[in-house]
Symmetry: C2
Subunit: 481 residues, 2 copies
């Protein structure tokens, strides 16, 4: 038994080899596995059920905002990419073309890297009048971007799962307002459900989505000092409407091009969750998104086994009645200690232990995954106590991550300060001219990229930390995934 356990556990420390530690958590907690094709991954049930919980939560949010789900084709004709010049340029290098041709026109077909073009072709047929607007459609699907950089499970794979929302409006201000509303829902998803604090803001010109007028983002900071883009919302203006002929007759019978936004997040959120919350024992799932919140481990001895298992079952059903997800690990070929280790590795937020001695005292022992604190609790108040502790764990995970984020931001007034902070794995906040060339030179020298320009009220102007020219706003920079 001992051997099995040591085989299973995490063998490196988070603070010593972050990258290997991350991979071990993913593989050993059975969240994902490498696929036999380079750049692809298998999302195993332990991670897919987190993705389902994210989907359920986010569907409720967007349905309330008037969005409906749909499904558009996987394959996109070559000519579609060419309709919006910047968009085509942005995605061309990463397209996976198929050998079959479209029957009608012998045109090449690519697997979607994103669905603006194929969706907007349909939109141009469906939208005729201002009464057809706003049109708000979202799709959950797989996309493919044939990157050459090294695979990182959940964070950089050629195929990934995501949602992409694509809305059309009659009025520019409605479009702009909702672009930010979706971004704010992303922030809430990350902070309230995943317990990951983010910085929201606008992308610089250089980092803007191919074809967008403005791109907005939420950025999180991983424990190794690298930023991770958690979701983006693009104000497309009328760019695509003009390229794809999406126009409508207004109330006075005049024809206008429509206004559009698109917004997406992907399964990389699960990678972020793992990096931010896990420790050297394994994963820690935030209770609100966990597929299982509580594992009940009965302490089994031959003579009391039956009684203890029965009580464990009763506890599980009471917890379920209270709306919590719980199960009993009744396997009899493994020791209680082995089970503790397994469920700690797999990240279940609360463990309830119950043995014959506890039973005699009408109590059980609750152990928190995040702090390792243990305490005995009367069985009669177990459901209430678990509910309270799960909320505490959720809050604690968010607060811990927020403290780390706040302590990792460094303001830089000079270029040496900037470089020094990046070396120290900080996220740097500094005046920047927002010019593409200057940003490129920053990346060349430090490998850091601009993450976002926050929505804080405009402060007084300053000088660009790199080139010294006039700068209107401060920008966050960091190395990133």
């Amino acid at each position: 038994m001992k051997e099995e356990k040591s085989l299973m556990g995490i063998t490196v420390k988070k603070e010593e080899d972050f990258s290997e530690w991350y991979n071990q958590i993913i593989l050993k907690a059975e969240l994902a596995d490498y696929a036999p094709i380079k750049g692809c991954m298998v999302i195993r049930p332990n991670a897919y059920s987190l993705w389902q919980n994210i989907q359920d939560y986010f569907n409720r949010v967007i349905f309330g905002m008037g969005v409906r789900n749909a499904y558009f084709p996987l394959l996109i004709p070559e000519s579609f990419f060419k309709k919006e010049a910047q968009h085509a340029e942005g995605f061309a290098p990463e397209l996976a073309w198929i050998e079959k041709k479209s029957d009608e026109c012998e045109e090449r077909l690519a697997i979607r890297p994103t669905s603006e073009t194929i969706m907007y072709d349909s939109y141009s047929k469906w939208i005729r009048s201002h009464r057809d607007l706003p049109l708000r459609i979202n799709q959950w699907c797989n996309v493919m971007r044939w990157e050459v950089s090294q695979t990182k499970l959940f964070l950089r794979t050629r195929e990934f799962l995501w949602q992409e929302g694509h809305c059309v409006y009659a009025a520019e201000d409605e479009c702009s307002r909702e672009t930010l509303l979706y971004l704010d829902e992303y922030r809430k998803l990350c902070e309230d459900m995943l317990a990951i604090p983010v910085i929201a803001g606008e992308k610089t010109k250089k980092e803007r989505f191919a074809g967008a007028k403005q791109t907005f983002t939420i950025e999180a900071l991983m424990p190794d000092g690298k930023a991770l883009q958690m979701g983006t919302s693009h104000n497309l203006g009328q760019n695509f409407a003009k390229s794809f002929g999406i126009s409508f007759l207004d109330e006075n019978g005049n024809s206008s091009h429509a206004w559009q936004n698109s917004w997406g997040f992907s399964t990389r959120l699960i990678g972020a969750l793992v990096m931010v919350h896990s420790d050297n024992k394994g994963l820690i799932m935030p209770p609100r998104i966990a597929h299982t919140q509580i594992v009940i481990v009965p302490i089994l001895f031959e003579d009391t086994k039956e009684k203890v298992l029965k009580e464990a079952g009763r506890i599980a059903s009471n917890l379920k009645k209270a709306g919590l997800s719980a199960f009993v690990d009744s396997r009899d070929n493994l020791s209680a200690g082995w089970k503790f280790n397994e469920w700690e590795l797999k990240g279940i937020p609360l463990r309830v232990e119950i043995g014959p001695k506890d039973l005699a005292k009408e109590q059980a022992v609750i152990a928190r995954r995040d702090t390792s604190e243990k305490k005995p609790v009367k069985i009669s108040s177990l459901a209430h106590e678990c509910q309270k502790l799960l909320e505490e764990i959720q809050d604690n995970l968010l607060n811990r991550a927020r403290k780390f984020l706040e302590s990792s931001i460094a303001e830089a007034k000079t270029w040496p300060e900037f470089k020094d902070a990046i070396v120290k794995r900080k996220m740097v906040f500094a005046y920047h001219c927002e010019e593409k060339e200057c940003e490129e030179s920053i990346k060349e020298e430090t490998t850091a990229t601009s993450r976002c320009i926050p929505f804080t009220p405009k402060s007084k102007e300053g000088l660009c930390v790199k080139c010294g020219s006039e700068a209107k706003r401060k920008v966050y920079f960091a190395k990133s995934y």
Copy 2:
């Protein structure tokens, strides 16, 4: 307004041009649209929400059976197809290869037509001991089969959405038993939720899934006399376990190959729902799967508008409190009659009309979509009455379809009887030798194929309706989609 209405409605009759009628329902009820790539389709929100309801229902069912969802890669290496010879042969003609190669071995990659091979490669790594079994995994995804036959929205498209369940067992009998359990859950989904009666049974050798030991199916009959395969469950025996090296150590430390099944249904269920239940006014959604069960249409006059809208809103919120899905169509640019037609076209099972005269009598008028019956109901008992009527509609749709199915089955004792019944668009039940060549000659002469061998107790033997040789069982034949 009149013009708009006539533009929107169905312009052919179900009994006169079934195929054109079907297409008009799909397009005009905004269930789907043709994609710009031949053989592909866009699933619009009105149909996708039916698919979501099917997913929610079926997830609850399989989660209860110990199945968990996961996601495997879209692309499959060429060598994988070759590992199971029959499987390779079955799918080779329909594969869409991509131009990019796998980096490691310069191997060709195809878009999945089904996922046995890519999933079982992972299974062979994950399964070591009898304690890893049973392994029950399902995935919801898109698949691609490059067929050359003509596109039919929902029924025959190159890309479609489906679920595929793939389970592994230590024991043959457990595998066999569960293969039939999943089939029975498909039957329940069709009959209880979609109100479509089916015939369950086994496929003949000729119609068996490529690589399976046995294939089981549920078959429905469309109003034009063509059968539609609604879902299949395959007992794979040890075929794939041997090709992919899926073996486990049993309790005594001996290594054995595992036993497997796979089972799937697709978005073609939505096509079946449309064909079976719709009429010349449009779609009829079975209440249990409908995205919207009740539309409330207020009858608006200038002086009473405010009062009537307020009451309509109150009714909607009461219906929602009773667990029903309802909304108020408060658009003021359309007449009530126009709205009646629109929601009939889109298949909402119940309509509640409320005008000033009704209000005075504290009543509303309920109209059933399936029978067109209308009756006044006291507002205080509206929720209860709607609940009752929705159940009645669900039952009525199923009974109607069952009557049609039963009256469409013809037993054939002789070959002329067989041919005559097929010409008359019947589903034929006849003794058959189950030999591939004989079945092929039946298809050649009649275009009918075998649908299934039902699970009825074995009757006495007979003579094959076609070749006259000994036949052990009776088989259903029909033309099919």
